[in-house]
């Protein structure tokens, strides 16, 4: 059962990266410095990108690196460094309502487990599944999924305009 219908190297890689991601995620919430938290978050996001590569979804993986590591995390760091990031450990970094997050996280996890289990069950990806090219991805986005794409674009546009309205003083 083992070697015949499993890709050993990919599975080993998956669990190594997953372990790194779990450690990184825990360090994000336990570390006592804002910048360290942000850097551990980079580790988690890079791990997600690596998992996408293992799934042969290179376009999604590169987008993950570009958007999350190259833009979102840089803006996070930029913002914290501009305002409050100090060198060394920081006291009272924790929000005093942090325990409310635990049930939310458990609920999210349970929902995802149930949804994934419901949707796929014991289904396995075929080992020789054809690699989805970027062209196929774009054909899907600009074909059958054009309307949701537009809707998302409008949401983002609204967010951008909102940011300008909030930031402008005059």
């Amino acid at each position: 059962m083992l070697a015949a219908d499993m890709l050993i190297a990919q599975n080993v890689g998956f669990y190594i990266i997953a372990a790194i991601m779990v450690v990184g995620a825990l360090r994000v919430v336990t570390t006592r410095n804002v910048v360290h938290a942000a850097l551990w978050l980079v580790v988690v996001l890079a791990g997600a990108a690596a998992q996408y590569v293992l799934l042969a979804a290179e376009f999604v993986a590169i987008t993950q690196v570009m958007v999350y590591i190259g833009a979102v995390m840089v803006l996070f760091l930029f913002g914290t460094m501009l305002t409050r990031a100090q060198i060394g450990a920081e006291d009272n970094l924790n929000n005093k309502n942090w325990f409310i997050g635990i049930p939310v996280a458990v609920l999210m996890f349970a929902t995802m487990v149930i949804a994934l289990n419901d949707g796929f069950g014991n289904e396995k990806l075929p080992m020789d599944a054809p690699v989805v090219t970027t062209q196929q991805v774009s054909d899907q986005i600009f074909g059958p999924y054009l309307l949701p794409f537009w809707a998302l674009s409008f949401v983002l546009l609204a967010a951008v305009i909102g940011a300008i309205v909030l930031a402008r003083r005059d």
Binding site: L39, M73, F78
Partner: protein
């Protein structure tokens, strides 16, 4: 034959060759650029000789400099003690992003590290990782000038990332692919309005994109006129101030290696990369190319890279520095609208023809 030769080597041997090739592809351009342009061209433009003592015409000066840096003490400032680990990590992130960048550059029909389907997209994504290294270098130095330099660098690199991506989109639309190898082939087999004597180098048909891309490269490399982040007269070299010894050397190599690699990517995108117009030698597809191109290709690419770096350095040594607000306005109100207009025009022409 070259591909067959490569596949007869065991996998670990191929990996070793790739690592060595990557080292050469990063360090050789960096060394050449520093000696040829930073040492010699800058000196001649300032009516002096530059280094002359080490080796003929000072050509061994680089080894002397590297040797000097390696002997220096690796200092962590007292105030940065609590963040020593991050302080030491930062230059490595910057250099790592350069090494990741060179992976997708094709050097010949078979002489490449990886034939990545989404090559240019990958290159743009990976190049933005170096911002992280610069930011945490500035922060962990525990020095307000360094922090200011790091923040300026981040703001600048984010601002100029956009016109760079948008300029590349024009090329991608025209070539119909994001694979750098196929972009090279598309340029060397193409024709401009039926004239195929020189192929279709996109520097001609995508001239606007080329100019926008090169300006964005200049800014991404933080070369003068965009050297606000490391402005030595006001920020004392910004995020690099507290670094000494080989960590400063890594920043230094990173800067000029990235210049070389970006120039290689620009020549792949706009100047036809490693290729010559295929019709000159009677080739039709990439499979019919003669084997000597695996040696000649890298040399052609290297020459084109040197020409582009020459322009980058020429501008660097000629212009004064932009003010911070001028710099941001230039990106957001100048380059990005131009690049967007170029995309629209290219898309319309692509559909029309």
């Amino acid at each position: 034959m070259f591909a067959a030769l490569l596949s007869s080597i065991p996998y670990w041997g191929q990996s070793l060759l790739r690592v060595l090739g990557g080292l050469v592809a990063v360090l050789l351009p960096a060394g050449t650029v520093v000696y040829l342009f930073l040492f010699k061209m800058m000196s001649f433009m300032q009516s002096r000789l530059g280094p002359m003592e080490a080796g003929p015409y000072g050509s061994m000066q680089l080894f002397a400099e590297v040797g000097k840096w390696l002997q220096k003490e690796d200092i962590v400032p007292d105030a940065a003690r609590p963040e020593a680990r991050i302080f030491k990590l930062a230059p490595l992130i910057v250099l790592a992003s350069t090494f990741l960048l060179v992976v997708v550059v094709p050097f010949g029909p078979d002489a490449l590290f990886t034939n990545f389907e989404t090559g240019i997209f990958y290159a743009l994504a990976v190049s933005s990782v170096s911002v992280l290294g610069i930011l945490i270098a500035g922060w962990s130095s525990a020095n307000k000038y360094s922090l200011l330099g790091g923040l300026r660098a981040a703001g600048q690199l984010i601002a100029y990332e956009l016109p760079m991506v948008l300029a590349v989109v024009g090329v991608v639309i025209q070539a119909g692919t994001m694979n750098l190898q196929q972009i090279v082939v598309a340029q060397n087999t193409g024709s401009i309005f039926g004239f195929d004597g020189i192929g279709n180098p996109y520097v001609i048909t995508q001239f606007v994109a080329f100019i926008v891309f090169m300006i964005a490269v200049q800014a991404e490399l933080t070369q003068t006129p965009f050297d606000m982040p490391i402005a030595e007269s006001e920020l004392v070299s910004g995020y690099m101030t507290e670094y000494s010894g080989f960590r400063f050397l890594i920043f230094f190599i990173g800067e000029f290696a990235t210049a070389g690699v970006f120039a290689m990517i620009a020549s792949v995108l706009f100047l036809g990369g490693w290729g010559v117009p295929f019709s000159w030698f009677g080739w039709t597809t990439i499979d019919s190319i003669d084997n000597w191109m695996n040696v000649g290709g890298p040399l052609i690419l290297f020459t084109k890279m040197l020409v582009l770096v020459f322009f980058i350095m020429w501008i660097r040594f000629s212009f004064p520095r932009f003010r911070e607000d001028q710099l941001q306005r230039f990106a957001w109100k100048g380059l990005i609208p131009i690049a967007l207009a170029n995309i629209m025009l290219t898309a319309v022409l692509k559909v029309a023809f």
